[in-house]
């Protein structure tokens, strides 16, 4: 009988010197070599195109580097190397499997904070199992945000357009979401400050957080468990609130009432979606969300046009609500990690929706973040034309755009998660 010598070297564990040690070591060695060779081969095959592309960009980068002499080539080479490494990491064979394994380890360890290489993307799990980003861990001054909104509002007033700032909620809901002890989020405090300032300056504001509180909405159902966006149903609810607020000014009917089941049906995709937050920790750390899409029962005919960052037309979809607004390939995808929220109006670039059955000629412009897409999508059923602009992508002049487009109303809809993105409030 022999004992195992654990103290072979100063490592974590070594189950040491024993009869058939070499046999065990060889198995470990062979498995190790197999794993690294297999993943090396598969990943290089999958990423080779992208890596070659990055190598070809070397000369382009060379032109952009400000350094001189040998350091010029060095900087360009460093950037190329960094991009190659980044592409390789993105295309690691079966990356999701590793992310899921990692998430599972965190679940076993009962960790509620899963740190990420991008600190803003660190995942926080609340008491009910909802995942969050900690956007508002530092409180920022809201003056610039306030001034940006106020400038647009004043411009609309001068031009005789209706203006409404819609404060969408954040997934971290004041006094409702229970975060792990020690995690602070000031997003709602910042939103409160902004709304208060805007109201004080008589800028028209619709604070959907107040509406939710008033209607005692089931907070758990407002957001996806695994995505930072609200659900499509919540977008649909928000559209009702916006319409209620604007109906008087715009003289439009609300034929697609939220509480009238004759008007809509709920298209449900069960266990269908792991969102932006869930995909960073994998499906075993969290739960898979259902996706519910309210679809009108009445006949619709919409034309949706998509534009790129340069304002160039990209593609068009025409048909019923589902055919025009929904990207089937994404929404119906069996891959739970495909962003199903993006299945509703695809993108944050400029979008124009024309309602071919509209009974009025009203036009609405959304200046918005991604939360507005379902809101605008449902709104398009009420008016002739709805356009969506996102300040992160639209590089033209908003004032000229508004003048040229001449909408009846400008709706600015932001969630508190974008407060730190300066370019979304730069309206001078």
């Amino acid at each position: 009988m022999e004992y195992i010598d654990f103290n072979n070297y100063c490592g974590l564990i070594d189950l040491g010197v024993w009869g058939s040690m070499m046999k065990k070591d060889k198995i470990i060695g062979i498995v190790f070599l197999f794993i690294i060779s297999f993943f090396s081969f598969k990943t290089l095959i999958e990423s080779r195109e992208f890596i070659l592309k990055e190598i070809k960009k070397f000369d382009v980068r060379l032109g952009l580097v400000s350094e001189e002499g040998i350091y010029k080539k060095n900087e360009s080479l460093k950037k190329t190397i960094s991009q190659i490494e980044s592409e390789f990491n993105n295309y690691i064979y079966n990356k999701n499997m590793f992310v899921e394994l990692n998430g599972y380890i965190h679940k076993v360890l009962r960790k509620n904070v899963v740190n990420d290489i991008e600190s803003d993307r660190t995942i926080i799990k609340d008491k009910k199992g909802y995942l969050h980003f900690n956007y508002g861990k530092e409180r920022i001054n809201m003056d610039k945000n306030f001034n940006g909104i106020k400038n647009i509002s004043e411009f609309c007033q001068r031009e005789g357009k209706e203006f409404l700032y819609v404060q969408a909620p954040l997934k971290i809901i004041e006094n409702k979401t229970i975060l792990p002890i020690g995690i602070k989020d000031y997003s709602n405090k910042m939103a409160d400050e902004l709304v208060k300032k805007l109201k004080g300056d008589e800028v028209p504001v619709l604070d959907l957080r107040e509406s939710m509180e008033r209607e005692n909405l089931n907070y758990n159902e407002v957001f996806f468990k695994t995505d930072h966006h609200w659900t499509l149903e919540s977008g649909y609810w928000a559209y009702q609130k916006v319409i209620e607020r604007l109906r008087g000014c715009l003289d439009i009917e609300n034929k697609f009432k939220y509480d009238d089941e004759k008007n809509y049906e709920m298209l449900k995709f069960e266990k269908h979606f792991v969102g932006s937050q869930g995909k960073r920790v994998g499906k075993y750390y969290t739960e898979i969300d259902d996706v519910v899409l309210p679809v009108p029962k009445f006949v619709t005919d919409l034309t949706v046009k998509f534009f790129n960052a340069k304002g160039e037309f990209i593609k068009e979809r025409t048909g019923e609500f589902y055919d025009a607004l929904i990207n089937r390939e994404i929404l119906e995808s069996k891959n739970v990690y495909d962003s199903k929220y993006e299945g509703f109006l695809d993108t944050n670039q400029e979008i124009r929706i024309v309602n071919n059955f509209a009974k009025n000629n009203k036009k609405i412009l959304f200046i918005k973040d991604s939360f507005a897409r379902p809101v605008a999508g449902y709104m398009s059923l009420e008016v002739k034309e709805t356009r969506l602009l996102d300040a992160r992508h639209f590089k033209g002049d908003f004032y000229n755009y508004i003048k040229k487009y001449n909408p009846d109303a400008v709706i600015m809809l932001y969630n508190p998660g974008v407060f730190k993105i300066a370019e979304m409030f730069e309206f001078y």
Partner: protein
């Protein structure tokens, strides 16, 4: 390139191993040349331009080695060559690592306004410079401690391989030339050693990625906070986490280096030996970064006379060595102070040795004393300035008026308790302790079922450890690089 990166694990390492072993072992020179080219590529991946510096170091020291060899019978000439070699190597180190520090201090001291150059530090410059110096000095000394004759390399590839060999290039261990002189030309790669190297590499990778990186999250969260806003409990937690982070990071890199070395047939010496179980500061330094301590002992302390020239000279020699040890770690007064801090404790221990009556509780007390000295030392090491370290230590001692405990502490402990326990346990030789206390596993070789179960568990532990480590690497978890100063 970092060992704990997917590009190393899935591209560099498999390609390097495959091509290396594709070359028949009888073509040793071609294998060495291939390893040198791969090592230079490994280095260039992080900072392409500094490969030129590396090549200059290789060529320069190759020539110095030949010159020393040539003038071996002529003491004055060989000493002259040795001096030039030191100027050559240390001026490179000075230029890149210390010039800005010196100019800043001259500006402050004499109220001048000399432009402080912004020079990027070549990764691992302190490591490879020390190795290069080791090569020429060992050739100069001719005979090593075992009585073997050390000759200058006629083949520059071999000098290059010694200086630039990728496993120990960026974070050590500092391999002295005499350790590997023979292995460069005559080493015996075999699959048993190769597999043992893989095991060692997996363990090192696990230490770095699983334990050290998670400790870094705690340490960085606390050290990056404003000292006025954190509690006493948090600052203690931060100091402990940093102590564990640096140990598992550094010893993990050493394990990986030793493991990789074995894969290519090299045998590097151990660099860490459970330093946190030490019962004196002197013992700590015999167990911590052994290769650096040995380097300074061999190439600085002994040449200065060591402890053979009387008490005061010994203290002076120690002061020089510890000043240099601190300064080697970085061009900042914090590192210098950290070196002097250890000099004080080591000197005191030397002076008091045998004069203090030991009680039966001395073992525990001396262990706590050592841990506290080391812990406060790490605060000094981690801080950006001496003042920052002072404030941090003041808060640790409860003199800063901070609250006792805060939510940050609760969060960090709640989230990391398992990592903290694992880190503390793994920093001690618990398995050896279990063996001594007869709390060990035993398996009869005669029982085939038990043997099979045991072997399966044994293999699974390593494979699972590797898969978990890969999950952190592929996911892109927090992976700080602690050697940017070295």
């Amino acid at each position: 390139m970092l060992f704990s990166s997917s590009i190393f694990l899935f591209v560099f390492l498999p390609i390097c191993l495959f091509l290396y072993y594709l070359i028949p072992s009888k073509y040793r020179k071609i294998r060495n040349l291939f390893l040198l080219v791969m090592s230079l590529g490994f280095y260039a991946w992080g900072e392409p331009v500094f490969v030129i510096l590396m090549l200059m170091s290789i060529i320069g020291n190759y020539i110095f080695g030949l010159l020393i060899d040539k003038h071996l019978g002529n003491a004055s000439k060989s000493k002259f060559v040795l001096s030039i070699m030191l100027i050559f190597n240390l001026s490179g180190l000075f230029l890149f690592k210390y010039s800005a520090f010196f100019i800043e201090n001259i500006n402050n001291l004499f109220n001048l306004n000399i432009v402080v150059p912004t020079i990027q530090l070549p990764i691992g410059i302190s490591f490879f410079t020390f190795q290069a110096i080791s090569y020429v000095i060992d050739v100069y000394r001719r005979i090593d401690s075992d009585g073997d004759i050390i000759k200058a390399q006629k083949n520059p590839v071999n000098v290059g391989l010694y200086i630039a060999l990728f496993p120990q290039l960026i974070a050590g261990p500092i391999v002295r030339y005499k350790t590997v002189a023979q292995q460069i030309e005559q080493r015996y790669e075999n699959f048993d050693n190769f597999c043992f190297g893989i095991k060692r590499f997996i363990v090192g990778l696990g230490k770095k990625v699983i334990i050290s990186n998670n400790m870094a999250l705690i340490a960085d969260a606390i050290f990056n906070s404003s000292i006025n806003e954190i509690s006493v409990a948090s600052v203690w937690l931060g100091a402990i986490a940093y102590s564990l982070q640096i140990f598992f990071d550094f010893s993990g890199y050493s394990d990986m280096a030793i493991g990789l070395g074995k894969m290519f047939g090299f045998e590097f010496l151990e660099n860490f030996n459970y330093p946190y179980i030490s019962k004196s500061v002197s013992e700590f330094w015999r167990r911590w970064h052994i290769s650096l301590g040995t380097w300074f002992k061999d190439y600085v302390y002994f040449p200065l006379g060591g402890s053979l020239k009387g008490k005061y000279r010994t203290i002076l020699n120690l002061a020089i060595v510890w000043f240099l040890t601190g300064f080697w770690h970085g061009a900042n007064w914090t590192y210098i102070s950290w070196g002097i801090y250890f000099f004080i404790f080591i000197s005191l221990e030397k002076v008091l040795k045998g004069k203090v009556k030991l009680s039966k509780y001395f073992d525990w007390m001396s262990h706590i004393y050592t841990l506290l000295v080391v812990l406060f030392g790490w605060v000094l090491f981690r801080a950006n300035s001496i003042q920052e370290a002072g404030n941090y230590i003041k808060t640790m001692l409860g003199l800063g008026g901070n609250i006792a405990i805060d939510e940050v502490f609760i969060l960090l402990v709640n989230e990391n308790i398992i990592f903290l326990i694992a880190a503390i346990l793994c920093s001690m030789p618990i398995l050896s302790f279990m063996r001594k206390r007869k709390i060990y596993c035993f398996v009869s070789e005669e029982s085939k079922i038990l043997s099979f179960i045991y072997e399966s568990i044994y293999v699974s532990i390593y494979i699972i450890l590797f898969m978990i480590t890969m999950s952190y690497i592929v996911k892109g978890a927090y992976n700080p690089f602690i050697y940017f100063n070295f």
